[in-house]
């Protein structure tokens, strides 16, 4: 019952976000807004992790399962990408390389700067 109650609480947070997202002056994904709401509740201490974790972990552990039906819909959209598969693969691989390089070099650079700053102070 605990997991069911916690699941229902998560449904309520999400539905509140759906309602709020409609009121926003710009387009914003309701589920991400729900995540921000729950994040605020957790950081403010209004909700304790143990009050949601049974329900949340049930969803988090099975997250990838939830995408199977949406993925199966590729059946309907295959004509859209049929002629574009080589381009899609090239884009995915090139942007992957760019993202990895930029992120890693930035983290390394910032860490080095911080270490030097600490060294100068000490």
């Amino acid at each position: 019952m605990t997991a069911l109650k916690q699941l229902s609480f998560l449904f309520a947070v999400y539905l509140l976000a759906v309602w709020l997202a409609e009121k926003l002056p710009f387009a914003f994904p309701a589920s991400v807004l729900g995540m921000l709401l729950l994040l605020a509740l957790l950081f403010s201490g209004a909700v304790k992790p143990r009050q949601v974790e049974q329900g949340a972990d049930l969803l988090l552990r099975n997250m990838m399962f939830l995408f199977v039906p949406a993925g199966v819909s590729i059946l309907d959209y295959y004509p859209l990408i049929r002629d574009k598969v080589p381009q899609l693969v090239v884009i995915a691989l090139l942007t992957l390389a760019v993202t990895l390089a930029v992120t890693a070099l930035t983290v390394q650079g910032v860490s080095a700067l911080l270490a030097r700053g600490k060294g100068a102070k000490g």
Binding site: L39, F43, F65, V68, S73, I91, T99, L100
Partner: protein, 226 residues
Amino acid sequence: MTAVTQSPLFGIALTVAAYSVGLWVNRKTELSVANPNLVAIPLVILFLLLTGTSLEDYQRGGEVVNMLLGPATAALALSIYRQKEILREFFLPVLLGCFAGCCAAVGSTLALCRLFGLDETLTASLLPKSVTTPIAVELSAQGGGVAAVTIVVVIFTGIAGAALGPGFLRLLGITDPMAQGVAIGTASHGIGTARALELGKVQGAMSGVAIGVSGLITVALITLLG
């Protein structure tokens, strides 16, 4: 037979069965790149084609499963919250690394989509491709993209990052475990993180933190772009 296939329970049961086979293959091969969805999705499609069941019938149950994605995305807040200690300790390098990486991901994807002359629908489907699937799907839908295309590209990106990421970073001379972890998490979300965990504890933890941080940054970036 139609009474069976038209019940939402049929689609749910078929999804669970196909995903269980996917998990089994994933465990047997012990490869982080053998993604359960990569097995489950073609398996469901094969079943529908072989039995002549319509996608519409399957999706009666599929929609029920799909409906849980909203609350599941909200639940991601808990996994971000659990990483608050590590985030506090390495705040600047993680935040700046994720920010630079997300700008690079969205910027390079947009540039290449234009270069290849892809239409707006495909471009919107590809833009969020580096982030975790639940966030990517929402951002794709918001921009007029197709969820199914986004899911396939996100999984492909994750698998490519898991398979090629560590070697590519070594080639670049990146030896800092934190830099390796944040880069893999930012570029290839949860699938990459499974591989980062194999590299080491620090890499795994940092990759996990980067999923949430990069997800939020990408939401901001794409919302501002749109």
